[in-house]
């Protein structure tokens, strides 16, 4: 019941990924990376990772929705044939 949960998961992490990766790109070379994340621009890298994860989720959600739609269409088609065979 309800909607496909992969949709909000995908959307939320996409937004996270864009925000964090964007900030990471904008602050490339900032001293804070040396202080905290061992010199690695972890914002950029992990932000990109989240975008990839989110895309995967959204793709799965889309596949689920398409499969559902084709199942419904198929059922409707069979129903029509049953009531109106030619």
């Amino acid at each position: 019941m309800g909607f496909d949960i992969r949709l909000p998961i995908g959307m939320m992490f996409l937004l996270f990924g864009l925000l964090v990766a964007g900030y990471g790109a904008a602050t490339q070379g900032d001293a804070m990376y040396g202080v905290h994340s061992l010199g690695i621009n972890i914002n950029l890298w992990w932000g990109l990772a989240m975008i990839i994860f989110a895309s995967g989720m959204l793709l799965l959600a889309r596949r689920g929705a398409l499969a559902l739609r084709s199942t419904i269409a198929l059922a409707a088609e069979q129903d029509r044939k049953r009531h109106d065979p030619k």
Binding site: G2, I9, L19, V20, Y23, T27, A31, V35, M50
Partner: protein, 610 residues
């Protein structure tokens, strides 16, 4: 170290809150009946209920508590997972789900009513309702304290805001909303903590480097030093570990706590319900790496420092300003007003516990460390602004999923097992749906009150642990006998539960862990008959005594009282229920196969960290 959030961190947190609330709003229109509200209409697929099963349990106690235990005891903390939780989850999936799901009980207390009698149900319902509301309150208190420390938020504001958000989405969307958000929270916690473990391990030189830095072999082995209590930091030996934690406490929690069982009951079929805990077991096995390792690393790394050149060239607009303060932290007086967290007297980046004036607490000549701050300090240490927002979201997610889990469990038990059973038996379904929503509100209100009560006490988390041992340990004996021995009777179960709880209280009252004073920690019955090497050992033995007493008393009283006829117990007892058939599954999806895979992975993990 001085935590200092940036606008980007708040943006990330804002996105998270928006989604959490949005899910509740969207789901509201699907909540038409009370079954929709309390049990998601029994229509959720297994992978979702599996992740929710895991997440509902994944509260602050786990994310913060396991980090604290990792810092204190090392990798032996993994026993909570690899000896405790996972076997219990496998058991509940394979053997107990058929009864929970098949009996069509809408809650754990309701199963007890169907199997035994009304008074057994009543006892369980009331103790569970109280326990769950207080647990939620303690979670809120812990979160309030943490947000105050990390973000400088006002304690009251933190409590009210988090309570309102959880209230909003559970009120609107019921259990489905809680479940969807729990799955969201699961991913958030995993995605938030993976970079932390990566950076932490990289900094210390991997597992080998960590072992070298810790220096104490007993901290990096889980079984080798369990021969005697004095050989390991936990102060336990293998028998009480296996029986107390492995069997009684873990099985007692995972098999009887409605918080988790409710998620499996929401599944769309019997097979899905059985697979729910098994699916949850896979990620659960890997959680020690996410939550225990940061704690272990926290004790052996130092605060981030900025070289003076970089500090001179850094622009104050960036987080370098924050970083500069981190380097100066050790010079600053403890808990000064500007939000500085002093590490003076601490270990690694674990700060000392401080008294009201801000000076470190000392007990028996040694500084008392605030282990609960191990994981949060790791976040502050390794995450720059941006990722820090994500890490904080993960922390908040763990608190909120725990709170929502408690809230949804409470409103079900209240509405079905207390209100409908004793106060208003014949109302319409709309009325019960209304009561479900109303109880969400007052349940959370009571939790907020409990949070303020918790604030008054020093040891409230210990009290809660104790309550779990008192209540869940005997309850597990009751369930075992109820599900697998058809001769068990209602009177037997009731007496067993009462005497088991009493036995737990007596055991706790007559024993004391080494180095503690009589009071909450034990020994409150006058004399101390036995001293345990540690609190954990005492806790395990309390559980063992409670379970055994309940088990024996239930058997004895059952044999002396009249059982119910077989036809009434069909579907409620193992011997009188058809074995579940798993249709429509590939061989690798069947519960028995999943269980076998989980258990073999478990053996491998235990062996690697021997």
């Amino acid at each position: 170290m001085r935590p200092h959030p940036h606008w980007i961190d708040y943006a990330v947190i804002g996105v998270y809150f928006a989604f959490v609330l949005g899910i509740g709003v969207v789901l509201k229109k699907y909540m038409k009946t009370s079954t929709d509200f309390f049990l998601s209409g029994r229509s959720i697929p297994a992978w979702i209920t599996g992740l929710a099963f895991l997440s509902a349990n994944l509260g602050a106690q786990e994310v913060i508590g396991m980090g604290a235990s990792g810092a204190k005891y090392g990798i032996a903390t993994s026993h909570f997972y690899w000896v405790g939780a996972i076997p219990a989850m496998v058991f509940v999936g394979l053997f107990m789900m058929p009864f929970y799901y098949g009996s069509r009980a809408r809650s754990v207390p309701e199963y007890l009513k169907l199997r035994f009698d009304e008074k057994t149900r009543g006892l369980n319902a009331i103790s569970f309702a109280v326990m769950t509301v207080f647990s939620s309150g303690v979670s809120m208190y812990a979160m309030g304290k943490l947000l105050q420390l990390l973000l400088g938020w006002n304690f009251n504001a933190a409590i009210i805001v988090s309570a309102l958000i959880v209230l909003a989405y559970t009120f609107l969307g019921g259990l489905t909303s809680a479940i969807y958000n729990e799955v969201l929270q699961f991913f958030l916690i995993v995605i938030g903590f993976i970079p932390l473990v990566y950076l932490g391990l990289k900094d210390v030189g991997g597992w080998a480097g960590l072992k070298a830095r810790i220096g104490n072999d007993a901290m990096v082995h889980s079984w080798k030093y369990l021969g005697s209590p004095s050989a390991n930091p936990m102060g336990v030996e293998w028998f009480s570990m296996l029986m107390g934690l492995g069997f009684v406490l873990s099985f007692g929690y995972w098999c009887t706590d409605f918080l988790v069982v409710q998620r499996a009951m929401a599944a769309d079929s019997m097979t899905s319900a059985r697979r729910t805990p098994l699916i949850a077991a896979f990620p659960k096995m890997l959680f020690p790496f996410l939550v225990i390792l940061p704690g272990m690393i926290a004790g052996v790394v130092s605060a981030a420092t900025l070289s003076s050149d970089a500090r001179a060239g850094a622009s104050p607009k960036t987080e370098s300003a924050r970083a500069a303060n981190i380097g100066a932290a050790n010079m600053v007086a403890p808990s000064s007003a500007n939000g500085e967290i002093s590490l003076e007297g601490g270990k690694g980046i674990i700060p000392p516990k401080v008294d009201e004036s801000g000076r470190p607490l000392v007990k028996e000549g040694k500084v008392v460390l605030d282990y609960d701050l191990a994981t949060p300090m790791m976040l502050v240490r390794y995450f720059p602004s941006g990722l820090l927002g994500l890490g904080l979201c993960a922390l908040m997610a763990s608190f909120m999923s725990g709170m929502a889990g408690n809230t949804t469990a409470f409103n079900s038990v209240w509405t079905y097992d207390i209100y409908q059973s004793y106060l208003n038996k014949t109302a319409t379904d709309e009325h019960y749906l209304w009561m479900g929503r109303a109880s969400t509100v007052f349940g959370l209100a009571i939790s907020v009150a409990a949070a303020y009560v918790a604030r008054q006490f020093n040891n409230i988390m210990d009290v809660l642990q104790l309550v779990f041992a008192f209540v869940n340990a005997p309850l597990f004996a009751t369930f075992l006998l109820g599900m697998f021995w058809k001769r068990a009777t209602g009177n037997g179960a009731f007496c067993g539960l009462l005497s088991g709880t009493a036995a737990a209280a007596v055991h706790h009252g007559l024993t004391l862990p080494a180095g503690s004073v009589p009071g909450v920690k034990g020994g409150f019955l006058g004399t101390v008959v036995h001293q345990y090497p540690s609190e954990m050992a005492q806790n395990f033995w309390t559980a063992i005594f409670a379970w055994t007493t309940c088990f024996v008393v239930t058997i004895v009283i059952s044999l002396l009282t009249k059982p119910r006829p077989d036809n009434e117990l069909k579907g409620l007892v193992y011997a009188l229920t058809d074995r579940p058939k798993d249709v429509g599954l590939e061989w690798y999806e069947k519960p028995a196969v999943l269980a076998a895979v989980v258990l073999s992975m478990l053996v491998v993990l235990n062996w690697i960290f021997w």
